[in-house]
């Protein structure tokens, strides 16, 4: 079979597999989505401290989307940039080894510790208060080391010969990194960023420490608004004695799953496109 014919054949197989995966993901998402919508409709928009029937998820949902956005916008460029510098540019000195091991260890620090750091640094130190911005910054700081670690692994798995071949064609270091190395590593980088981002979105501990509200009367519309998020809202409801709240907490966790699946789907699609470019 000639190369173009092989290309077409492989393409067909890939298309079928993709359609199959799409259907499976679609069914799961639709089921979760329906549950979440029912919950959001059932529960009122203005939650009350003691009345479960009028407690809703709109503000927590908006808070989580804000946090996801802030975390992604800060942690991904910083983390991937740091990984590119460490793997592709920085000379392997003793300082490099020190920095690399510090970053590796930071990726293993429990989220609670980041919460305390965020409380001291952003909420008190920078005077941001228990706001969406303080929460986003805290989650971003927690996410950066994980992004660095996974991106470094992705870059290190690109064979050295790819860099040599690209340099050998008269490309500059930056052209090699931008056009070939990052492109080859893109699927793994996006995969690592997705995992790190989803873990940040699901984290409750650091947000509870910096002071997430368990009761809000309006949905956050800007990063300066009070901090609220799905995981912390879930936690707050489980702590209430009144009947009805346990059901709400269960509903909130389903909604959290749905939102995470949705974000995961968006990132999966991104990865699929990049993965295609690689092959």
């Amino acid at each position: 079979m000639s190369a173009p014919a092989r290309s077409r054949e492989n393409h067909r197989v890939r298309r079928w597999l993709r359609a199959l995966g799409g259907v499976a993901a679609g069914i799961t998402l639709a089921a979760l989505g329906m549950l979440a919508v029912v919950l959001l409709l059932n529960a009122g928009r203005s939650p009350d401290a003691g009345i479960s029937a009028s407690s809703g998820l709109v503000s927590a949902l908006a808070g989580t989307l804000w946090l996801a956005l802030l975390t992604a916008v800060i942690a991904v460029p910083v983390g991937v940039g740091a990984a590119v510098y460490l793997e592709e540019y920085a000379p392997r000195t003793r300082a490099w080894r020190f920095l690399a091991s510090v970053l590796t260890n930071l990726a293993g620090v429990p989220p609670v510790v980041y919460g305390i750091a965020g409380l001291a640094l952003f909420v008190r130190g920078m005077g941001l208060g228990p706001s969406i911005l303080a929460g986003g910054l805290t989650l971003a700081v927690l996410t950066v080391p994980r992004v660095v670690a996974s991106s470094r692994r992705a870059l290190a798995s690109v064979p050295e010969s790819l860099r040599w071949n690209a340099l050998g064609l008269g490309a500059t270091r930056w052209q090699v990194v931008r056009d070939q190395v990052l492109r080859a590593a893109a699927p793994d980088i996006v995969r690592g960023c997705s995992a790190a981002l989803l873990r940040a979105v699901g984290a409750a501990a650091p947000l509870l420490i910096i002071g997430a509200a368990g009761f809000t009367t309006f949905a956050p519309a800007s990063p300066g608004d009070p901090l609220t998020a799905l995981p912390t809202q879930t936690f707050a409801w489980t702590a209430r004695p009144q009947a009805g709240f346990p059901a709400l907490a269960a509903g909130a966790s389903v909604t959290l799953l749905f939102v995470m699946a949705l974000i995961g789907l968006v990132l999966w699609d991104l990865r699929r496109r990049h993965g295609e470019a690689r092959r």
Binding site: P159, N165, L169, G170, A171, T172, A277, R278
Partner: protein
Amino acid sequence: MSARDEGTRTAGDGAVPVLSAEGLTVRFGEKTALSDVSIEIPRGSTVSIIGPAGSGKTTLLRSFNRMNEVIPGSSQAGTIRFAGGDLHSAAMDPAEVRRRIGMVFEDAALFPGSVFDNLAFGLQARGEEGDLHGIAEVALQAVGLWSEDAEILEARASDLSAEERRRMCIARTLALEPDVLLVDEPTSTLDPAAAARVESLIHALRDDYTIVFATCDHTQAGRLSDLTAYLDSGRLLEYGPTQTLFTNPRNPRTEFYLTGRLQ
């Protein structure tokens, strides 16, 4: 008569070598890969570098287009001259050097994407704004990968066979119209029939390019090259016309190597 004199003498128009190394020593950390190598590559000639594994063949090729300096811990002494100028002078841009002295690596990694993407990369890196498809077509024709429907350009590089990959990697280098072509193990990892076809491609390119290639198949050196250099543990033990070196080697180790008695 020294080996170098002999090399220069046999070189067609060869008064001016296009590439020459003088007292070239290359180290990687503590390990010496090449020691005190002096060699001249006459313009228009085809030179083979033979020798046992680890003798420095690849290192010598890579020093001709400044590819050793990208390896951390490498150091170099001696001079290399290219077209009359010092290859390492401040005026020489390493990227420019690598375009003019093109190299086909033994481990010829494919770039992500299509065959066209592979050919276009070097051209785009150079800032080429002309007809990339036209240049790619000419380069693919030169290596026998072109077909009239131009479908090959859109094929994924990873769908190519081993032989087609090797041809594409040669085309990638030719697209930049280098003065000198360095080829590391042109036919390694190919089956004998494909190896023979790629070898005849290299043979056809001899008319248009100065070619330096490294091979561990010394019969291939015999078939393809005008001049042969024998490297042994980083030293250039013998360099001269291929026929002379094969039939009447002056160094006993060359003879041992060629006859398979080198222990």
